[in-house]
């Protein structure tokens, strides 16, 4: 049996630690410690990414093929829509903005690597190896190399930052339907890699395979970052708003390299 004195010291140490953390005194120490760990975390994070990809080879090839066929069909349908959209001037502007979304927006990107993750059930967040010293701020958007919206920064260290992914149940993003350049609703995370487009006025035209983008009404998130595709729309005539389920286009379950969108 441990001596009562030892137990007392352990309990006192724990209480002191909690108080120091709550008072914020631990932050400088934690930041220094975290900065020292980042180089090692980059290496082990890359190893983990490799192992994760190796282990996630879908054992059910038939399911994977069916899924690929379904996505192909959707892609073809979207391609047709894309051609139609090009014919319209307003949508054409929007598509140009999407294709080159950072060119004239006053934003640039800071490349970063995911070093730790918590992607399970309702929670979806990652730690990246860029922080305040790299110009990153809370609320900024994080995108993939293709410019697909991943999530936004919710907490910050000197050399690291935490990104809340779009599928996390706490995530809320002001969104629009591509080509409209108008706030249409809010994309809320639903967990397990899915999201929901809510608070859409009945007057907004929305159908399956429409592209949902960021609205640009949030301070640090530029407009026209692609969030996902509409899967299905639910609308009751008696409701003032309609909702839609969204399939995020960014591969949220296998993010490795991402970019933070920061002001120029």
């Amino acid at each position: 049996m441990p001596r009562p004195r030892i137990i007392f010291f352990i309990a006192a140490g724990i209480v002191a630690l909690v108080l120091l953390i709550l008072a914020g005194f631990v932050r400088p120490v934690r930041e220094t410690f975290r900065s020292a760990l980042v180089p090692f975390a980059r290496v082990t994070g890359s190893i983990g990414y490799g192992i994760g990809r190796f282990l996630h080879i879908d054992p059910d090839a038939r399911t994977a093929n069916e899924r690929a066929d379904e996505l192909d069909a959707r892609l073809r349908a979207i391609s047709v829509d894309y051609v139609r959209l090009r014919a319209l001037e307003e949508e054409n502007r929007s598509l140009r903005a999407q294709a080159n979304f950072l060119a004239n927006s006053g934003f640039r990107t800071v490349g970063s690597r995911v070093i730790s993750r918590m992607v399970r059930d309702d929670a979806a967040a990652v730690t990246i190896d860029r922080g305040a010293k790299d110009g990153v701020e809370v609320g900024q958007a994080v995108v993939t190399d293709e410019g697909l919206f991943v999530g936004k920064i919710i907490s910050l260290g000197e050399r690291t930052a935490v990104v809340l992914l779009v599928s996390d149940t706490q995530s809320r993003i002001a969104s629009a339907v591509a080509g409209t350049n108008r706030l249409a609703g809010v994309v809320e995370g639903r967990g397990s890699g899915t999201a929901r487009f809510t608070l859409i006025p009945q007057s907004v035209e929305l159908k399956r395979d429409d592209v949902v983008v960021t609205a640009g009404t949030e301070d640090k998130i530029p407009p026209n970052l692609t969030i996902g595709l509409v899967n299905d729309v639910q609308s009751l005539p008696t409701d003032p708003f309609k909702t839609a389920s969204i399939e995020p286009l960014a591969p949220l379950d296998r993010l490795d390299l991402v970019s933070v969108v920061v002001p120029e």
């Binding site: 049996m1 441990p2 030892i6 137990i7 352990i10 140490g13 724990i14 630690l17 909690v18 934690r30 410690f33 975290r34 760990l37 090692f40 975390a41 082990t44 994070g45 190893i47 983990g48 990414y49 192992i51 994760g52 282990l55 996630h56 070093i115 730790s116 993750r117 918590m118 992607v119 399970r120 059930d121 309702d122 929670a123 967040a125 990652v126 730690t127 919710i154 907490s155 690291t160 935490v162 990104v163 809340l164 996390d168 706490q170 379950d253």
Partner: protein, 169 residues
């Protein structure tokens, strides 16, 4: 004794780094294969409280620093180390297979309870945070049983820890 202490601390740092980075990439049931908690339980049950606490602090600080979620890992591991040590010396023997397995399960359950507690307390704050999800129950229990069994078998086979005290008189 210091070289051994340093080794334990380095082992704790390494295990924490693996838990915070590599293990987070494993999906499904494999995500239950954490290393820090079993390490702390094994050190606490079969070695000494001092070593268990050293490993708990080293591994916990790394995980708290790197993980995106708020889980107070250091606090949880310290509590588990203390309780498992007390249990191993009083109510549950660490000298039997069943006792070792029970200590592992107690540690796992305690960790989940403390995680639930700190998440609940943290929920009172208005500052948003990422909740740490508990490990899946069945894979978590199986993983812990495998680790504790393997450790017990290794100790029994390669050390004199569990040999009866006999002597020629």
């Amino acid at each position: 004794m210091w070289p051994r202490r340093i080794l334990i601390i380095l082992l704790g740092l390494f295990v924490g780094l693996c838990d915070a980075t590599i293990v987070t990439w494993l999906g499904g049931s494999l995500s239950a294969m954490h290393l820090a908690l079993p390490l702390v339980i094994i050190l606490s049950a079969f070695s000494s409280l001092e070593r268990a606490l050293s490993a708990a602090i080293a591994a916990g600080l790394v995980m708290d620093a790197l993980q995106p979620s708020f889980g107070f890992v250091t606090l949880r591991l310290l509590i588990v180390a203390g309780v498992i040590r007390a249990a191993a010396q009083t109510y549950v023997t660490n000298r039997s297979f069943a006792g070792s397995a029970a200590l592992g399960i107690i540690g796992l359950a305690l960790d989940a309870m403390v995680l639930w507690g700190v998440t609940w307390i943290r929920g009172w704050s208005s500052v948003p945070f990422v909740r740490e999800m508990p490990v899946p129950v069945v894979p978590g229990v199986i993983w812990m049983l495998v680790v504790m069994t393997a450790t017990f078998v290794v100790f029994a086979a390669f050390t004199r820890r569990f040999m009866p005290l006999v002597s020629r008189r």
